[in-house]
């Protein structure tokens, strides 16, 4: 049989391949999520020149730097207002914020709720690994109650955000949760988000074996992914308050799905002027 040499993969065209290899740890869940995002860009039918990818600070925030689109690695917590400006100045662009749970919901939480309320036409892809990974596994706003972290050595004393519930409550028109294992469903969700006008939110559960898995006895990445495989349940119409998560609890399933998909007027700072003109 002749040898088949593959020089490139179609998905290479949306990566800055000269910047590879990436900085992520072995077993990190960010990679599969990036693949899903890249595949969605390819399939979106929107030329890559019209995509922008914006991030804050953290491991997940390094993703835009690998994408061959207009990319902005901003300050910690501020990608959403930055992306808001791109979306209103260049409404023809498909603007995606790709960042982490600590960036978007710890230091940047206020911006998230206000952009959702405004229904700014941007997509948020949030890697949730339940900790601040880049700086070495500190406790964050998504760390489950009781879980261990380098700044919660006796266990976290605070309850965690239920991110899809929060996004839905503050006004997102599309809300989904998938894991780094569910790359096909995740890609479909990102494609759906790109098709929609308005503020969309996709939470991606991702192993962080170094920062979160190890101190919480979840084993290595393979073991955490097995956990996803065994315990994940798809329920698109779940009661959103029930979406609280704790990977360490064996009695509760992790519910995945596309929970919200509604239509609302997207943010337009000139809406009232256009309305006036139409009168």
């Amino acid at each position: 049989m002749p040898e088949i040499v593959v020089e490139s993969h179609p998905i290479d065209t949306v990566f800055r391949t000269e910047r590879l290899p990436h900085i992520f740890c072995p077993g990190c869940g960010i990679g599969p999520a990036v693949h899903a995002y890249a595949q969605a860009i390819l399939e979106s039918g929107i030329p890559k020149e019209r995509h922008a990818c914006v991030s804050g600070i953290g491991c997940s925030a390094r993703v835009p730097g690998y994408m061959d689109v207009d990319s902005y690695h901003t300050t910690h917590g501020r990608p959403i207002p930055f992306a808001t400006a791109i979306a209103v100045v260049k409404p023809e662009m498909e603007v995606t914020v790709f960042s982490g749970d600590g960036d978007l919901f710890g230091i940047g939480g206020n911006h998230f709720i206000h952009a959702a309320r405004r229904n700014v036409d941007i997509n948020i892809i949030c890697i949730n690994n339940f900790n601040y990974g880049m700086t070495g596994g500190q406790v964050g706003p998504t760390t489950p109650l009781g879980a261990k972290a380098s700044t919660a050595p006796y266990g976290n004393t605070e309850p965690a955000f239920n991110l899809p519930y929060l996004a839905a409550a503050t006004g997102a028109v599309f809300v989904a949760r998938w894991t780094a294992l569910h790359v096909r469903q995740l890609k479909e969700a990102i494609l759906r988000a790109m098709q929609k006008k308005g503020f969309t939110f996709i939470e991606v559960l991702a192993p962080c074996p170094v920062g979160f898995g190890s101190p919480n006895d979840l084993g290595d990445a393979i073991e955490e992914v097995w956990l996803y495989r065994e315990r994940c349940v798809v329920d698109h119409s779940v009661y959103l308050p029930d979406l609280e998560l704790d990977l360490r609890r064996k009695d509760k399933p992790f519910v995945m799905g596309n929970f919200v998909d509604i239509e609302k007027e997207p943010f337009d700072p000139l809406a009232m002027m256009k309305k006036k003109e139409g009168e």
Binding site: R19, T74, T75
Partner: protein, 387 residues
């Protein structure tokens, strides 16, 4: 969608805050993001009405952190972006002012200064954010700042600020104060085609040209050409230390190279940015250095002192940053002392001290009321007596 004129050519009797807004409009500002804060709120209110009426964007953000982040995003999307704030909001903006410096995103922030620190005196005048304007964000960097002494200058300086920002790819501040922001005076707005406009330097290369490095400054001015979102360049802008391609390069050598360039592009060209006005300086043996509202009192004081036969002049700063260090050095060969009145407990006076060995006499008040001419005059008389 333009039921209103962008440039209101003619004579107007305008509040300083409103003149800042009209200056922005005349300069082609097409994006404002801000958060209301006394005593700058009238800038936002005027632009909330005026910008949409000329088809441009006004957004009231959730706070000043967001406002400044939005300014950088808008700027790198090609907009002429501005905000207006006062001390507490300026503090929150500092984080992303650093980002504007690092990403070389031109933008303008008007600071209508009030009494500080902290919440301080929300409705009353101060000039104590002068050093914050220069050093408020972490790290080594250079910016430019103007200091208007009248509503007319509020209008003029916002236009200058936009042009300086676009020319050098830096954030530029208009450091007005509550007194100037809240006083009304005649403002003459020239015809639209007479408003000076400096365009941003754009790349000679096409997208996908492998030779194009968007963070490489090939010209003597050390300013790289700017690419905007959606133009096909697919550039990476990074708040991390980055190389000429714009990619993270968190190592000592590229860091020194980048920070040095960001600083040198201004330090080596201050003569193209610095502006001041000299009043009665020709034969002066004493120099008063003043800016903003205090310069008006200083002017009254030197007129009075001249009537008393004191040969005193006024160096009125138009740009406060970069500081006119060469002018101070030059005057040090002419005058016997400097008097520096300001509504803070000694900020720009320290800068004067750095560039002269002559006595520098501060006339200071922590703020809440405009500096009166009398204490300046008293200082001039005292210096004259001791000289």
């Amino acid at each position: 969608m333009s039921p209103e004129e962008r440039v209101l050519t003619g004579s107007h009797f305008l509040l300083g805050d409103h003149a800042c807004a009209e200056g922005g409009l005349a300069a082609g500002c097409d994006f404002f993001a801000g958060y209301p804060i006394t005593p700058s709120t009238e800038v936002a209110e005027r632009l909330a009405r005026r910008l949409p009426a000329v088809g441009s964007i006004f957004i009231q953000m959730e706070d000043e952190l967001a406002s400044m982040a939005a300014l950088v995003g808008a700027s790198l999307s090609g907009a002429r972006a501005m905000s207006a704030t006062s001390g507490p909001g300026f503090s929150l903006m500092m984080e992303n002012i650093g980002m504007a410096v690092m990403m070389e995103a031109p933008c303008v922030v008007v600071n209508i200064q009030r009494g500080a620190p902290s919440t301080g005196l929300p409705t009353l005048v101060g000039q104590s954010d002068m050093m914050q304007a220069r050093w408020g964000s972490h790290g080594d960097y250079e910016i430019a700042a103007y200091s208007p002494s009248s509503p007319q200058e509020c209008f003029d300086h916002v236009i200058k600020a936009f042009n300086t920002a676009d020319r050098w790819r830096i954030p530029v501040f208009v450091m007005a104060d509550e007194l100037i922001g809240h006083m009304s005076e005649r403002v003459v707005i020239p015809p639209a085609d007479q408003i000076p406009r400096v365009e941003r330097k754009r790349p000679r290369h096409k997208p996908d040209d492998p030779d194009f490095l968007h963070c490489l400054a090939e010209d003597e001015d050390l300013v790289p050409p700017i690419v905007h979102a959606g133009e096909g360049y697919r550039a990476n802008f990074d708040s991390l230390t980055h190389d000429e391609k714009g990619y993270p390069a968190t190592f000592p050598e590229p860091h020194d190279r980048l920070v040095r360039r960001l600083v040198d592009k201004i330090r080596l060209h201050t003569d193209q940015i610095i502006e001041y006005e000299e009043i009665f300086m020709d034969d002066a043996e004493l120099a008063v250095i003043a800016y903003g509202s205090t310069a008006r009192s200083a002017r009254r004081a030197i007129n009075e002192a001249r009537r008393e036969g004191v040969r005193v002049g006024l160096l009125r700063l138009i740009t406060v940053w970069p500081f006119p260090e060469n002018k101070v050095k030059e005057l040090s060969n002419q005058v016997k002392a400097f008097v520096v009145p300001e509504l803070n407990l000694g900020q720009m006076s320290r800068e004067v001290e750095r560039f002269t060995s002559l006595p520098v006499i501060g006339v200071n008040h922590a703020g809440g009321v405009m500096m009166a001419p009398d204490p300046i005059l008293d200082a001039i008389r005292e210096v004259k007596k001791n000289a």
